[in-house]
Symmetry: C2
Subunit: 267 residues, 2 copies
């Protein structure tokens, strides 16, 4: 069972407001599909539609921004969202070409940026990896618990380069490799490391910044991370995804912690 | 300059018929964008639209099938396509969940399959790689010439598993690795190898089977393969892509050879 069971009565059955990842017929099919499988109710806003302050006044437990450019969220809308984070809602930004700085994300120097646990670059922060890049668990935390980071570390295809703020906690880092093929075998040489998952707080709310995307192409091998137990899921209005079981568990953990989605089981 | 210059007068200025990869607003943006940048004229058919025998009677230099399920091409349409290959057109199948066998591709035991240089599985042949998989050049050939396979081998995210036919030539193979993280460092252990690019002939036409996709997610790091010289391109009716320069060169080589698109330069 993949349900994130919400055991408290709360104000709306759409606990999550998910903004970005192009559309439900596109990249948003991954996260929307999994939330549907987990039993997490959500409202969705595609990347090409702006959001207003009044849109952000419906009480939520979690806001997810993923490839949703800052120009789509005016200052008063950002203030409305952050007012909810101050009183306990979660805020998760997921990487992509329109996340963090990216190529048109332009979240640096915004109110949302100042609530996140990372420092966003003022320049293009996109790192595209044509050679292996693997994830390393750098701290124990319920988001990264009970997953085979050592025995079966997953790859990613790219990420936004940011730095962790003081008083944040870095749970995952990414290590990039330079690979060469010589005399009939590959050699792998470690290159730079960078923060991959950083968590913090803003008022009473929890915040998280994930540097990679959860959809192709940056998600890389992470989308297939698993031991053969494939998960199929489909959100209303979207298409059927088929992903790895560890990927699904990692996302369940990430949403549950950041959104304080109390649950009896995640198994 | 990325132009594939076609120096002979030929029957149509749409030398290529490209079928599949969902739609021009989706995955087809990659290959369509590059063909536009190369100056290769093409007609396009999305994955959800069938093709008839009469559609396939317009003379072409190259047919590309990528995530285009066999159920969309009736037997008489396959015969019409293959009649052109017999007299010199090229046939390229690119991997994906709806290519080769895949998950609904079901090209095994079809007339098209019998013209390709590989044996297609009768079962689900999809290999999704959550850990590193890298390409190895296994023969010299103009498709793989002048690219840094040894110094900077690219990753892929997955592929269809097929076997090379007798009288074919395997130009690229993929090697999968099991990675572990122990005592502060990664260890990489080679696992299975599989054919990645196989070429052959059918009558006077050239044929090629590429096991990975050229679009996310299976394309993996290959889409960003480059030394920093990023290529932007956009097909009419599609979106702007930004890819690696070696990826673009590899595709230029692949299309030029398979379609016998005579050219003065590819630089």
């Amino acid at each position: 069972m993949w349900a994130v069971e919400i055991t408290e009565p709360i104000m709306s059955d759409k606990h999550v407001f998910y903004l970005g990842d192009t559309s439900l017929s596109g990249a948003a099919g991954y996260l929307a599909g999994l939330m549907s499988a987990f039993g997490i109710g959500f409202d969705y806003r595609p990347s090409d539609r702006a959001v207003s302050a009044s849109d952000l006044k419906t009480p939520r437990k979690l806001f997810i921004l993923s490839d949703y450019a800052s120009k789509q969220m005016p200052a008063d809308a950002q203030a409305a969202l952050l007012a909810q984070v101050q009183t306990g809602a979660g805020l998760l930004m997921i990487g992509g070409w329109e996340s963090f700085h990216g190529h048109g994300g332009d979240w640096d120097d915004t109110p949302i940026a100042r609530a996140l646990p990372v420092e966003i670059s003022g320049e293009d922060d996109r790192i595209n990896c044509d050679q292996p890049a693997l994830l390393i668990k750098s701290a124990d935390h319920e988001i990264v618990a009970d997953l085979p980071w050592e025995d079966r570390p997953p790859t990613v295809g790219g990420f936004n380069r940011f730095t962790a703020n003081p008083r944040s906690e870095t749970l995952l880092i990414v290590e990039r490799f330079s690979a060469r093929y010589e005399a009939g075998r590959f050699q792998f040489d470690p290159q730079a490391q960078a923060p991959m998952l950083v968590v913090g707080t803003h008022g009473q709310g929890r915040t998280a910044a994930l540097a990679t995307d959860l959809a192709p192409h940056w998600v890389g091998g992470l989308v297939d991370w698993g031991d053969g137990d494939r998960i199929t899921a489909q959100a209303p209005g979207s298409w059927q995804i088929e992903v790895g079981n560890f990927y699904a568990q990692f996302i369940a953990n990430l949403l549950a912690w950041t959104g304080q989605l109390h649950h009896e089981k995640l198994s």
